[in-house]
């Protein structure tokens, strides 16, 4: 059993009196896509920037591929690719020149042309970076993070501001990273993004993880099924932990009365329901 790609234990970060991260613990297995989901200001970026080596931590233990990222070891940096939330380019170089230049920092770079192809920028390879659209710039961000052929990739809100088509393309790139066996840590405030991409999700609120697990079985209430049907024109809803027993009772009674359970639905709460339920408490405090 290989050691996890990332181990975080009781991580804390305060900026003076403000506690941005208040005791976060999680592990990310090798080859896993791990999503960190939360509203703006929840501590997602602070957490990820500590893992990337940009920020020091106030307390706790952090291991990234067996290294302490705070030491900014070049050996670790060779194995990690980073897509920051926003960062610029040299405006007067082409896509190919930028990828080529960054590839030189790595011992075992991926081929420049192949990297450009991977992120879908082939027809823009000779365009200068200042002439790229927002979505194309984000793909160049991805290319620069992937050109070192990293084992672990951090993506901090990779699709914020994308139109739906560009988002689908970016998702395709993340899926291809997973197919290549990369470990991916992804922060996002888009639920459907976490749902579509992540093997596991941690929901972060006010510097703490409030729920963690695969997106389809997440959160408190996650075992509660909703069973609803139409009765005399209006919808009746039940919530239950044991849908088998409830359905058996409902259908037995209906048959006994000669009724049909029109519009019968059995649903599980979506990640969105869980997320809204968990983050709604923020406002109540």
């Amino acid at each position: 059993m290989p050691s996890p790609a990332i181990e975080v234990h009781d991580l804390r970060k305060d900026y003076g009196a403000v506690e941005a991260v208040r005791g976060v613990s999680f592990e990310v297995a090798r080859g896993e896509v791990f999503g960190i989901l939360g509203p703006n200001g929840a501590g997602k970026t602070t957490t990820v920037e500590i893992l990337e080596g940009y920020r020091s931590r106030s307390a706790g233990d952090v291991r990234v591929l067996g290294h302490d990222p705070a030491e900014r070891d070049r050996e670790l940096q060779q194995r990690v690719g980073i897509v920051l939330q926003s960062c610029g380019f040299y405006p007067r170089v082409t896509v190919r020149e930028a990828v080529e230049h960054f590839s030189k920092a790595y011992e075992h770079p991926r081929d420049t042309g192949e990297t450009i192809e991977l992120v879908g920028l082939r027809e823009k390879a000779d365009a200068r970076t200042k002439d790229l659209s927002g979505g194309q710039r984000r793909r160049l961000d991805l290319a620069l993070a992937l050109v070192g052929d990293p084992e672990l990739v951090f993506l901090d809100e990779p699709t914020t501001g994308f139109d739906p088509a560009a988002r689908r393309t970016a998702w395709g790139v993340v899926r291809s990273m997973k197919e290549l066996g990369k470990t991916v840590v992804l922060t996002t405030h888009y639920l459907e993004e976490a749902q579509a991409l992540a093997d596991r999700v941690a929901i972060v609120k006010e510097g703490r993880i409030v729920a963690e697990g695969p997106p389809d079985q997440l959160g408190p209430g996650s075992s509660r099924y909703r069973v609803s049907y139409l009765s005399q024109g209006s919808r009746v809803e039940h919530q239950t932990d044991d849908p088998t027993e409830l359905l058996h009772r409902l259908t037995r009674d209906a048959i006994a009365l000669g009724e049909r359970l029109d519009g019968l639905e059995v649903t599980r709460p979506t990640l969105e329901d869980v997320y809204l339920e968990l983050t709604a408490e923020v406002d109540a405090v």
Binding site: C87, R92, V93, A105, L144
Partner: protein, 243 residues
Amino acid sequence: MSPVALAWEQFRFERKLFWRNPSAAFFNFLLPLLLLVLIATAFASEPDELEVLIPGVAGMGVLATTFTALAFNLTLLRDEGVLKRIRGTPIPAGAYLAGFIGSATLNALLQVAIVVAIGNLVYGVDWPHDPLLLAGFTLLGVVCFAALGVAFSHLIPNEDAAPAYTNAVFLPLIFISGVFYSADDLPEALKAIAEALPLKHLIDGLSEAIVGGGGADVGTAAAVVAVWAAAGLFLAVRFFRWE
């Protein structure tokens, strides 16, 4: 790649970027030369005036290509997030900065060489009287103003403010430091300020090296520039910000 090879790659990359940016090339090379020609034509046609102007414009060239260019470009790169991106790669900070500052250094050396050559070929000023001293003062000036430029970038809040901040230093400094006329003719108060700052001393040193016999104390000039260089290096490293 070794850090030295990476610094070399960064240097080559910076050279390519420099020539692709016509306005940077203009401000670094053509503007000082334009000022040299205009002032030489309009006001300083006498040999003794030219012997003030040539070292003065060479000193201004060092200031423009290192201090101004580095303070401006670093602010831009920091504000745009390019520095933060570099920080996330295995490129060692020292290799990156060596390549980046090396490019500015080459501009400074080229500028001094061009000014000296124009002085001789166009205006008949003798070839440098002491080439070794010229090389020494040019390098000392480059170290000093490059370090001060990096240090000064820490004070500039964002890229929009960069032209105002750099010009607020550049313009007064060239007027009090004897670029276009001898600093000895200035009022005492301005002379005292110029004496405390490094540009006048760099120009004194360059003047001794190019023309000679000006009576300036080369040792004192070198010492003042060196003290500013040390202070600049300390501040540049101590307060360096990647984002």
